[in-house]
Amino acid sequence: MKQLLTLKINGETHEVWTSTHKTLLEVLREDLYLTGTKHGCELGECGACSVLIDGEPVLACLILPVEVQGQEIQTIEGLAKNGVPHPLQTAFAEQGASQCGYCSPAMLMTAKALLEINSNPDSNTIREALSGTLCRCTGYSKIIEAVEQAAGELAVMRQNS
């Protein structure tokens, strides 16, 4: 069975005619080709598909899109604004926080949600916030350092604005 969905993704409204049982992850990737959001298990275990719904990180593989119609969905594609990378993105690149890069979109979106509620988190708070997303490359330390760097840069940007 199919249905017409109206989804607000990265500030844009998308109408999608798709199967009712498809997960948000499948609709994002397969119907809208927003392939920046990844998958490692599709069972809610690895965290690689994390996106933000009204600013909260959720696992897109466990959400039916019909549940989030009308809410703000943010994916990695919406993190850079007008071609300018978010400080988290530049920090990830500079710190070597992406090795294979496959968990990076989920780590970044989760870190963005954290920094919006806690602008100066200590490293344990960052670890806790990111602990639902697995990374097999980095040992996590460069990811934590990148989030700390971005938090610092965002603080400076706030002061200057």
Partner: protein, 811 residues
């Protein structure tokens, strides 16, 4: 915190920290992994897998599946019957099983449909008739002589050395008995290392397209496009020139994407059958069965030591549980013996090993390939010897290090050895000696060391051609394109390539375009395995770049009327070495050079030196150079429950010369993480009941297969030691695998230091420690006979073939 910064004076990029060339694309979600590809008219494929660990296929009926709306094609093994495998000696895999299945998860049929869901549903329409066979699920069962049972029924492969013994090796260097006679202390012990898997976050995925020109293009998440290219040519019965393999960015490999795989063959065939692009992405459960991970290894070790700590004799007997297919297993078997010798001199060495076929997912190369298991045993053993000799474990090791420019007992050439400096770094930073002897019950410090190769001396299929090729093209606009078959799996090989060419041509990394891992466009590089890429592509890149540098300087010399040897390329300019005159831009100089020489291009290649011995089996172990690592682990262990946490790791790694310091530290930390995760919890384990479902994976999900999260990872303090090895580019060695090796023994030794329990197996779990604590309290030994020692108790009694006697290098 690298040393010898003087060496780096005059270098712009090498040894510094700069962002990966593809770092920002990854952080923006723009990197296109295989499953991110959607081509027009693309079909989606799924494979039907065996529910039985061992069975004959009597029939497969695709009729109903083909009738299902949306199904475009279906196939069985008969459509693609030619076997393949990564090693020439183990061509034992079929694209889809033809006559029999050898493990749960073996694929027997495949379907291509308009979407994944239809393909998956169609699998239920396929009717397969099996005749069940008895299964072999343990090393012990695999070692049983086939005469004891029914030969045709339990033998998994007919080509095995004997019965289900896939491969047996017996080598003796020097004279082991003489060695034991000279020893003051002898220890004889058993160790066990459980199997574990790579668990890349990206599942394997492949897309194939059959073009109007008749050519096949395969995009795949693979570490070895060149080997996949060869395997496809064989299986598809097509000239290699008609096949193009492109390795898409790999979302985590760790050795798990180093074999040619069934799904890669199947998508190509389905693309040919349908004339449409076909994609096949494995589910997480399928990835667990595809495996090729760490072999479970049961080890018997006997070692003799003099009172001064020198090793007079070392005898390793290893049984490897290989699973259902050969994969890299023959190499893995040799690797469980090859590298014990490159850290500390061993006067006499005997190595015997058997790899056993079992009806489980095939094991293969995982980070460290065959060496973490014996390294764990050796480093725990040294800890025990240190106690026997009343020596500090660091002191014992420091007294006996393989010197630079020496040959090991098994004829390996060690050019430089930074292990001593590594040990000093980690023990000083952690105050190891004081902490070890002074801390209270429950607090423990342990030391482990290791060594790994920077690329194998021989390719997978033996030949004398280069192992890595690099081609460079310079555009009139000053853009430099570097082509190489090497494959970036997140280790940063594209960045290494760009950094080296930027260094050689004196330009900015941002002006370098890297084109890699495409068999149509790039010269062969054997792939991202054996920690070979930095050393081999690095040397090939230097070989390609230097003639271009000479041409540019020579053309500039003519125009500027300054001798070429007085000019240099730096800061995207031609400069005079003495600083006189105005700099000329790189772009102008390139145009002068093109005017003088024509189109600017060059090729470079690298073939490793033939450093090994001449005996059978000498092909595994030689490398241009060896990296060295040391780790001190600090643990806190509850002396009641055995529950422990790792408080901190101090890591030191002899990198030879860092090409990019930050990336190297990232590799060291990543290796330490992966080692710690397997030391503490990772296990690829199966049900072993005789009844079905014996051979069923116990934890084929990322929830049940435990690995460390961000919350579990301790602080790591990393030191880089630079020995400037003569074989490496600028002196570099590997960093991707070696730093994993010292972790497991460091944890085991730290637990012993904390609570007095010896866990002689990996993983080191609280349950096992608790077992040992109970024994210590009651004063009664458990099954192993030693109070407070937990580990294997039995070793199969089996006669190994007579060892090939090889003279030690000294004799």
């Amino acid at each position: 915190m690298s040393e010898n910064k003087d060496f780096q004076a005059g270098l712009t990029w090498i040894g510094k920290s700069w962002a990966q060339v593809d770092g920002l694309a990854k952080a923006k979600g723009e990197t296109v992994y295989a499953d991110d590809m959607f081509l027009p008219r693309m079909l989606f494929a799924k494979m039907l897998r065996s529910p039985h660990p061992h069975a004959r296929i009597k029939s497969i009926d695709l009729t109903q599946a083909l009738k299902r709306p949306g199904v475009v094609a279906a196939m069985t093994g008969k459509d693609l019957p030619i076997p393949f495998g990564i090693l020439p000696v183990s061509q034992d895999e079929e694209s889809l099983c033809v006559d029999k299945v050898r493990m749960i998860g073996d694929p027997v049929a495949a379907v291509a449909a308009i979407d994944e869901e239809t393909a998956e549903s169609a699998l239920e329409d396929i009717v397969v008739e099996y005749e069940l066979l008895p299964s072999v699920l343990t090393i012990e069962d695999g070692l049983k002589s086939l005469e004891e049972t029914e030969i045709s029924k339990t033998q998994i492969h007919e080509y095995a050395d004997s019965g289900n013994i896939h491969k047996q090796v017996a080598l003796e260097f020097g004279d082991i008995e003489t060695g034991f006679a000279e020893a003051d202390h002898i220890r004889e012990e058993l160790y066990y290392y459980e199997g574990n898997t790579h668990l890349p976050i990206e599942q394997h995925s492949a897309v194939a397209q059959h073009g109007a020109d008749g050519r096949i293009t395969l995009w795949s998440s693979t570490q070895t496009p060149h080997y996949v290219h060869r395997a496809l040519a064989k299986v598809l019965e097509m000239p290699a020139s008609q096949i193009r393999v492109i390795a898409t960015p790999v979302g985590g490999g760790f050795g798990g994407k180093t074999d040619p795989f069934q799904h890669e063959m199947v998508v190509c065939k389905l693309a040919m059958m349908t004339g449409r692009p076909v994609k096949l992405t494995l589910t997480r459960e399928e990835v667990f069965y595809t495996h090729r991970g760490r072999h479970p290894v049961l080890m018997w070790v006997k070692a003799g030591m003099k009172s001064d700590g020198s090793i007079t004799a070392l005898h390793f007997r290893n049984f490897l549980d290989g699973g259902a297919y050969g994969s890299y297993g023959v190499a893995s078997t040799y690797y469980t013996g090859a590298l014990q010798t490159v850290t500390y001199p061993i006067a006499n060495y005997k190595f015997e090993a058997m790899r056993v076929f079992t009806n489980k997912a095939p094991c293969g190369p995982k980070r460290g390939h065959g060496t973490p298991q014996p390294r764990f045993a050796l480093e725990v053993l040294l800890d025990k010897f240190a106690e026997d000799l009343e020596l500090d474990p660091a002191e014992l090791r420091l007294r006996h290090l393989i010197p630079d420019n020496s040959k090991t007992v098994n004829h390996l050439t060690v050019t430089t050895n930074g292990l001593g400096e590594c040990i000093r770094k980690v023990t000083e930073a952690s105050r190891f000696q004081q902490q070890r002897t002074g801390s209270s019950l429950g607090k423990g410090f342990g030391l482990g060391c290791g060594s790994y190769l920077s690329g194998a001396g021989l390719p997978v299929y033996w030949n004398k051609m280069p192992h890595s090729g690099v081609q460079i093209k310079i555009d009139r606009g000053g853009g430099v394109t570097v082509f190489c078959g090497s494959t970036d799996i997140g280790q940063g090989s594209n960045s290494v390539l760009a950094g080296i060419v930027a260094e050689e041509l004196g330009i900015d990394i941002g002006n370098i375009i890297v084109v890699t891992a495409d068999t149509d466009l790039t010269p062969v590089d054997l792939g991202s395995y054996s920690s070979r890429v930095t050393l081999m592509t690095g040397n090939a890149a230097i070989d390609a770049a230097r003639p271009l540098r000479e041409k540019i300087l020579s053309a500039a010399s003519e125009v500027l009327k300054i001798p070429a040897e007085k000019l240099m390329l730096r800061n995207s300019s031609v400069l005079s070495k003495n600083g006189s005159g105005e700099p000329v831009s790189f772009v102008d100089a390139v145009q002068w050079a093109e005017t003088k020489y024509g189109m600017l291009g060059s090729v470079g290649s690298y073939t490793p030196p033939s450093h090994g011995g001449k005996y059978k089996g000498a092909g595994v172990g030689p490398s241009p150079n060896y990296s060295y690592s040391a780790c001190v682990a600090e643990v806190t262990c509850d002396p009641e429950s055995g529950i422990y946490r790792v408080d901190k790791l101090w890591m030191a790694h002899d990198i030879g010369q860092a090409i990019n310091e930050k990336l190297v530290i990232g590799q060291v930390e990543g290796s330490a993480y992966m080692g710690l995760s397997e030391a503490m919890m990772e296990e690829q384990i199966y049900r072993t009941g005789k009844d079905n479902p014996g051979g069923l994976h116990k934890t084929p999900s990322m929830l049940d297969y435990k690995s460390l999260t961000a919350l579990d990872m301790p602080e790591i303090e990393t030191f880089l030691v630079e020995t400037h090895d003569p074989e490496g580019p600028y002196g570099a060695k590997e960093a991707g695998q070696g730093p994993l090796l010292p972790i497991m023994p460091a944890i085991a030794n730290a637990i012993y230091n904390a609570v007095g329990v010896r866990v002689d197996e990996v993983p080191i779990t609280p349950e096992k420690i608790y077992q040992g604590l109970k024994e210590l309290k009651s004063g009664k030994p458990g099954g192993s006979g030693v109070i407070g020692r937990v580990g294997p108790k039995k070793f199969p009694k089996i006669t190994f073939p007579e060892a090939i006697k090889v003279k030690s290098v000294d004799s």
